[in-house]
Symmetry: C2
């Protein structure tokens, strides 16, 4: 029998659970779907819709969004330029851990800057799939589910993406989903079909 005095951390880490072992147990490969788009474009809606569709197919998922990250891990961060970068960096690092754990994970943050998203892609690695949730700002503003556009127009919120701060649209996203013209079910189906095509999840019987 081995005991602690003969083992080292290094030896043990080498005998950790391999990605292929995780994939076999989970029944699918890992992926990190990075949803980016304007406020009101439908990032969270789409991410949660995909999570539901995948869960119902037996795929293990998790959604990282403002609800569970902004008020927890990143609650010490302000909306300064420096903290904005740190916000996306930490989300990227957590996304990497979730991908490492084998889950199909979704992040739903505006993430308006290309450099920040490029950093997240570099951190996460090959599991990273950028999903551009494309929706005209006028449509987003007409939805305004949180009343934020109204506040931005009234000058109550500064540096508001799409109104008083830029949104740098992805140039080569793995997926572009147009939420202004398609119903939600169709948007979800497009994401799921992509995961099947990539061999991340199995085709349904």
């Amino acid at each position: 029998m081995s005991d602690f005095s003969k083992s080292t951390n290094i030896t043990w880490h080498q005998s950790g659970i391999a990605p292929e072992e995780r994939a076999t147990l989970l029944g699918h490969r890992p992926a990190l779907l990075w949803f980016t788009g304007l406020s009101g474009s439908g990032k969270s809606t789409l991410a949660n819709g995909v999570a539901r569709a995948l869960h119902d197919r037996g795929v293990h998922t998790y959604v990282l969004d403002g609800d569970n990250v902004r008020h927890g891990l990143n609650k010490d961060l302000t909306f300064s330029a420096e903290d904005r970068v740190e916000n996306i960096r930490r989300i990227g690092e957590v996304a990497r851990l979730f991908a490492d754990a084998g889950l199909v994970t979704m992040t739903a943050f505006i993430s308006p800057y290309r450099d920040d998203r490029a950093q997240a892609r570099a951190i996460v690695g090959e599991a990273f799939i950028e999903v551009y949730v494309d929706c005209d700002v006028a449509v987003c503003e007409s939805r305004d589910p949180k009343g934020l556009y109204k506040k931005a127009r009234a000058g109550e919120i500064g540096n508001f993406t799409g109104i008083s701060a830029p949104y740098e649209a992805p140039e080569n996203p793995e997926l572009r989903i147009d939420t202004s013209t398609m119903p939600l079910e169709e948007c979800v189906a497009q994401v799921v079909a992509y995961l099947v095509a990539r061999g991340i999840i199995e085709e349904r019987d």
Copy 2:
């Protein structure tokens, strides 16, 4: 068919995947095993051993430790008192996300201060299980897998837990595992038995 213009983020979050649904799909309940103990006490060894034993039983696990957190999410942190608290806070927040995702997650960090561990417990909530990896400092020093005690004795590392900085042993941990007298297999078996007793994982046939 619903479409985006009729849905709000708030509505959708309410229809997220419930903890019971995750548990049904995964085949077990979530847990966060917070391993605490001196350097060389066997935290990572034990956490990885438990992860392996659980994986082989079909339980979905993940280990958060220095290898995947210190050089990633927390790479901006120093070893100052303030950053030490922030280090444990972030690990607690990430552990909460993993528990929320339904996994049996293990953290393996010295986490020498009671207040820091209490904060982690408060963040994680009911999934939190404190595992005191109890091992005499003399035994830890004799193992010294990373050569850190040698450096601490030589004065090359300051504020070294157990040598030049305190370790505040847990007063009421859910589990205390004595790694100085028991072989690894027995230590692992004790943790697994605890999870069975708590109804987190199923008893093996």
